[in-house]
């Protein structure tokens, strides 16, 4: 049985929600004060995900770097693996925000895209 205290980030109240369960199933969930908070804590317990942002080396522009992001959130435990892939990347100008730079990073099904426009 695993017990986790989760601080809800849906709104500024920051309820502390306690979730108990095992292998991705939830046995008890306490401390939430709204349905959005309950939903947040459930997802956070079963499969926490985060948007990853970083920079990639850039050629052909004034700036040496371009800001990049995962188009959608990636599993939290894959953040450092994804960083290692982004670090290998060198891209060249011009770029538009949303341009795909790495497809399906680390098998997550998520693309790493440019988050800035570079002329």
């Amino acid at each position: 049985m695993m017990k986790k205290e989760i601080i809800c980030t849906v709104c500024p109240v920051g309820c502390v929600i306690t979730v108990e369960g095992e292998n991705g199933s939830i046995d008890s969930i306490e401390g939430y004060t709204c349905p959005r908070g309950k939903n947040y804590a459930e997802n956070e317990f079963v499969s926490p995900v985060r948007i990853l942002t970083s920079t990639a080396k850039l050629t052909g522009a004034k700036s040496p770097l371009v800001a990049v992001r995962s188009k959608t959130p990636v599993p939290k435990d894959k953040l450092f693996d994804c960083m290692a892939e982004i670090r290998k990347l060198t891209v060249s100008a011009p770029l538009k925000r949303g341009d795909v730079l790495i497809e399906n990073v680390c098998g997550t099904g998520v693309d790493i895209v440019s988050s800035a426009d570079v002329k």
Binding site: V13, T53, K62, P64, A67, R69, S115, D117
Partner: protein, 412 residues
């Protein structure tokens, strides 16, 4: 001297300036010119590569460059003009003087002016940390610029003083880039920044947050070798017996922001001693009627979405002023009641319109009632489970026939 004429001149091309310029153009101003000292638009958001922008305005989680990118697209579409690499030296009622390496000194004659210069970070000198003066002490924003725009890593073992948002965001950024963040140290007994950042930037990576602690000494000759931290008592005085040394090569400071108002001061515009920014009315109009102000130059915001909203008001008002459709009416001061540090706008012109009052509390409180009163009459009432100085609050009131306004936050 190079001379330019325009309807509305916007000083600063960050999120506030961009939003104001777009709004001015949309409100009918013919010639809108942004003067920006950087070589590119976007301001501080150019180094804010993290997500979290636009949740209110676009209902999407954007990065800094994505957020201002949308405003640049809009500015180009509506035909806002820009002067980059131009440092503004002086602002008077209808003239903005700037210097530019191509044209030298330029005088811009404008029917109205919008100040959108943003803010600067407080430094080691502002908070007077004892110790030697080695390399490796940075403000969090400087480190952010070095890492995210200039491709320079700032250190390997890092202590961060202050739990402001930029400090926490840099804790995550440094960790993702392979540095070890030993601790985030906060003198207050509560978090300075947003809870979301504590969870996603510190807790996610197991970075300790030490509340009621401060840095009392910096050691090292050429480079930072360690810092000494200590717990503080209720008067914020370090407790001798709690001192301990943390080995590190870098100290980041995230200890507050100050609106950048050198030209505002020089222009003789009234500055609030609390926000350190110009006092404004609901049109974001300063004490100099042809000059408007918006964004962090007025008061330091925690969300750029709020900056864009109030800047759109400033831009629209500046366009109306330029067209002779907005004057200067007598204003009523908005008063701060219990547990309210400041309210922006600081004064309002009575009339049948709804206005958003933004304010910050002095201390964290739970289960409170927020009220805005005109004498005995309650114009606005809302309960809040929690208020925190780090998170700006909003109250919307109608100003029809009001004679005074007092904003209060009381425990219930």
């Amino acid at each position: 001297m190079y001379e330019i004429k325009c309807d509305v001149c916007v000083v600063g091309g960050g999120p506030a300036g961009l939003s104001a310029a777009v709004a001015a153009k949309k409100a009918g101003a013919e010639d809108v010119l942004i003067v920006e000292r950087d070589e590119s638009l976007g301001g501080i958001l150019q180094q804010c590569i993290h997500p979290g922008f636009g949740l209110k305005l676009f209902n999407e989680e954007l990065t800094g460059p994505e957020y201002y990118g949308r405003f640049i697209d809009e500015a180009e579409k509506v035909g806002v003009k820009t002067m980059l690499g131009s440092m503004v030296l002086d602002v008077t009622e209808n003239v903005v003087t700037c210097i530019n390496s191509e044209y030298g000194v330029c005088e811009i004659e404008a029917k109205s002016i919008v100040l959108a210069m943003g803010c600067r970070e407080r430094t080691r000198a502002n908070i007077v940390i004892p110790g030697t003066r080695p390399a490796g002490v940075y403000t969090a924003g400087t480190a952010q610029r070095l890492m995210n725009r200039q491709n320079e890593m700032v250190g390997k073992k890092v202590v961060i003083l202050g739990s402001g948002d930029i400090g926490m965001i840099m804790a995550r950024r440094l960790t993702l880039e392979g540095a070890k963040v030993e601790a985030v140290v906060e003198i207050m007994d509560f978090l300075a920044g947003l809870t979301r950042n504590r969870v996603q930037c510190l807790d996610d990576f197991g970075i300790p947050l030490l509340l009621s602690h401060t840095v009392v000494d910096i050691k090292g000759n050429n480079r930072v070798e360690s810092v000494v931290i200590a717990e503080v008592d209720e008067n914020k005085k370090p407790i001798e017996s709690t001192k301990r040394e943390i080995e590190c090569d870098t100290l980041l400071l995230s200890v507050g922001l100050i609106p950048e108002n050198e030209v505002t001061n020089k222009a003789g515009i009234k500055i609030s001693p609390i926000t350190k920014g110009p006092e404004v009315n609901q049109y974001m109009q300063t004490s100099m009627p042809s000059v408007f102000a918006c964004g962090n130059v007025v008061h330091v915001n925690d969300l750029v979405d709020n900056v864009s909203a109030e800047s759109a008001t400033a831009g629209k008002s500046a366009a109306l002023y330029a067209a002779g459709k907005l004057g200067k009416a007598d204003a009523i001061a908005v008063k701060t009641g219990e547990n309210v540090r400041y309210v922006c706008p600081q004064n309002v012109v009575a009339g049948d319109e709804s206005v958003d009052l933004y304010f910050r509390v002095m201390k964290p409180e739970k289960n409170v009632q927020i009220t805005v009163c005109d004498g005995e009459k309650v114009l606005f009432k809302r309960k809040a489970i929690k208020v925190n100085p780090g998170e700006m609050e909003k109250a919307t009131v109608n100003l029809n026939g009001i004679s005074e306004l007092v904003v209060s936050v009381k425990e219930v």
